[in-house]
């Protein structure tokens, strides 16, 4: 058992709990960034260098900056944070715990086939190998993803535009 795997999993789960439990939304965002960095560490351990880099650039870089920016823009802090009644929180924790229990109980006796030493290839996560697959087999989905991103950009600009009048939808 790799100690690095245990350490990264432990930190990732703790900081994921921090996202849920932190009172201040800014702390939640910082915990989420820590989670993303540990997940990038996991990707590195699995020899998926491309995903590790993209995870840090896209998630920890772009998406979390967007979250942090919106939270600071709306001036959310501990005082403005709404809370559910204790009973609802308890029920939610029970529901989430049961989901975990069911998933673990269902997967406990499943033994997924591990690696195959004869055909194993440790280089599949490298940028050049993934690039070849991406631009040969997945060229069409790749282009569709660019259209999706363009549509999302146009949509968010349109949503964010202030219109005249009392209510702006």
């Amino acid at each position: 058992m790799s100690p690095l795997f245990l350490f990264l999993s432990f930190v990732a789960l703790l900081s994921a709990l921090g996202v849920v439990l932190a009172k201040n939304p800014v702390h939640s965002v910082l915990f989420l960034i820590l989670t993303f960095f540990t997940l990038s560490g996991h990707y590195l351990l699995l020899n998926a260098q491309f995903l590790a880099a993209v995870n840090i650039i896209v998630y920890a870089g772009a998406i979390m900056v967007l979250f942090l920016f919106v939270i600071m823009f709306l001036n959310l802090n501990e005082e403005t944070e709404p809370h559910k009644p204790a009973l609802a929180k308890f029920a939610a924790a029970i529901a989430g715990g049961s989901l975990l229990l069911i998933l673990v109980a269902a997967m406990r006796n499943v033994n997924p086939v591990g690696y195959d030493p004869t055909s194993f290839d440790s280089q599949i996560g490298m940028v050049d190998r993934l690039g070849l697959v991406l631009f040969q087999q997945y060229a069409l989905p790749f282009e569709l993803a660019s259209i999706l991103l363009l549509a999302a950009m146009v949509g968010s600009v349109m949503l964010g535009k202030r219109e005249t009048g009392e209510r702006n939808f």
Binding site: S2, L51, F73, K89, M107, D121, S122, I124, G125, N168
Partner: protein, 110 residues
């Protein structure tokens, strides 16, 4: 070929990644149920997406099949688009109602 099998893949059973991703996913679900702030709920959805990503990557790396990692790449692209539109909607809701509390935004709830 000049390659060695990474230590994690040799020593950690694939099942442990399933458990780890399940735990991360369950924490995300709990977060969606517990919190009332729309932005935090959104962040917990990101947590669930990442639980799926780590599982796909683990299976892809263990089975030496690049398709799983390509799929993770597309999930990240879709997540980026989703976040930009979602946060745009949340900012617009805040401009109209001065709150991001999902319990006050229940007009469409039967």
């Amino acid at each position: 070929m000049d390659q060695t099998i990474p230590e994690v893949i040799r020593t950690v059973p694939l099942q442990y990644y399933v458990f780890f991703a399940s735990a991360l996913f369950a924490i995300g679900v709990t977060g969606v149920l517990v919190r009332r702030n729309a932005i935090i709920i959104f962040m917990c959805v990101e947590l669930m997406l990442n639980a799926v990503n780590i599982l796909l990557t683990a299976f892809s790396a263990y089975r030496a099949d690049p398709n799983g990692q390509i799929f993770v790449f597309f999930i990240m692209a879709v997540a980026a688009a989703e976040v930009s539109v979602g946060l745009g909607i949340i900012v617009m809701i805040y401009r109209n109602f001065q709150t991001t509390d999902v319990n006050l935004l229940s007009r469409l709830k039967w």
